[in-house]
Each structure stands twice: as C-alpha cells, then as structure tokens.
Symmetry: C2
Subunit: 145 residues, 2 copies
C-alpha cells in the first residue's frame, strides 16, 4: 500500500547520499527495512524521520547528541522530558548562535557602508573604519562579544 523506496531513490528524496544513509544506519540513527533479499527499503514514515533528523542537524545538533536522542526515543515515553530538555538546549544554543552571528553581521554591514562611502566619496579619504565605527558605538556597547 504505502510506497517503498530503495536506497537510491530514497537518497534522492531526502538529499543524503546512499553512503551517508548507510553511515547513519551504522550509527543507529536510522533503521532501514529489508526485503526478502536483504535489500534496504524505506517508507513515508522514514522520510519524515530523516526529515526531522535534518531539522535537528540543521540547528547544529551533533551526531553524538542525535544518537543519544535516538536511544532515549527507543526507551519510550519515560524519556520524553529528557528529550524535551535536549531539544530545548539545542534551540537555546542555536538562538545564541544567531544572536552572535547578527552582531558580527552588523559590523560587516557597517564596513560595507563604509566602503560605499569611500567609493562615492561621501566618506573622507582619510577617515578610518575604526573612527567611522565609533558613531554606532556611542554608549551601551560591551567591549567584546
């Protein structure tokens, strides 16, 4: 009834190489089904599971943590809180990363503006980027990161 995919087709579907799918299986992240000839096949549910793995990886979760998450999942509902907390930490970390990234981007943006000023002469030839930056730095800035 529900569609089945062998590793080649599944690979294209989820955007991971067949190598990587076997590697993830080795690592215990995925369990493939097998046909009568021991050939792997995957179903719609596996698409969703790999999709979720990719969301987790996409937020910066490491394979080791992913493995722990999968082990907890296998232990059933008793581990729901622990899994929730894992995800919360991943989320908090990712949000901190974004905040830091945006801080760096702000400086980058100023530098680009400064270059634009140099090119169209609205910034004096003699003004250094450091001096130019001061105006965005007037008060309330921390010294580092």
């Amino acid at each position: 009834m529900t569609k089945q995919y062998r590793i080649g087709a599944f690979s294209k579907l989820v955007g991971l190489s067949a190598y990587t799918l076997r590697y993830y299986e080795d690592q215990g992240l995925i369990v493939a089904h097998r046909d009568a000839n021991d050939v792997r096949f995957y179903t719609e549910a596996d698409i969703r599971w790999v999709g979720f793995i990719l969301h987790l990886k996409g937020t910066g979760m490491r394979l080791n943590d992913l493995k722990r998450y999968v082990r907890l999942r296998a232990q059933g509902d008793a581990t729901i809180e622990e899994r929730r907390d894992m995800l919360q930490k991943v989320k908090d970390d990712a949000e901190a990363d974004i905040a830091e990234l945006q801080m760096h981007l702000q400086v980058l943006g100023h530098k680009i503006d400064w270059y634009d000023g140099k090119v169209d002469q609205t910034i004096a030839d003699t003004e250094s980027f450091h001096d130019y930056l001061q105006q965005f730095n007037e008060q309330g800035a921390d010294k580092d990161g």
Copy 2:
C-alpha cells in the same frame, strides 16, 4: 607611547591561542611587529585588526577568502569595490544561513511544544508529532526547505 603586547598577552587579549596567532601570520592574515630580539609584539591597531578578522570569521568567512581579502587590502584603494563585494556575499550567505536556521528552529519549537503537551496531557497520547505539525502547515508551505 601606544601599548605593546607580546604574543602571550595579546593571545589573552584577543582570545586566540599563540599557536593560532602564529598560524594566522603564516597564512598572511596578520603581520606582527618585531623587537630587537625578533620577538613578536602587537599594538592597539593589531587588536582592532584581529577583532575585525574575528567578525569576518564569525559570519562564516573561510580562511581562504580571508586570505584573498587581505591580499586585496594590501593592494590599496583600487580593490575597494572587490572587497566590498566579497563582504556583501559573505553577508548575504550568512543571512541565508540564519533564515534556514530559523526555519529549522521553528520545527524544533513545535516539537518542544508537542513534548510539553504530552507531559501535561493537553495533547492526546495517540496524536503523532506529524499530525500535530499539520496545523502549522495548512497552506503556503514549501515541501522542503
């Protein structure tokens, strides 16, 4: 007059190991000054330069691109536009990364909410995360990412 720092002190100041500072110098990213005994020293201006390098690295710029940037910088004002364009690309890429990250984070957030619902019983024991997710997916969603 202006303060000088040897590699150990400078290392603590900028948060890079002495190894890394020498490595960056090898790679042409930094030029250290030398005293009469060939011992490296750094000044306030070097703090600012390393700071800027860290902003660039912080937005995901690779060492190879950083090297190219530094080479262009050494060639003077004629390369300003090229440098501007490099930074713009780094910025655009980083912003795309953030957008993707936030997309992943949204799913993560939903999963956390779903766990919370399981824990306090506001979500039926039988409801799958996939079904739960559908409500945020009503229309206008692309299939992937």
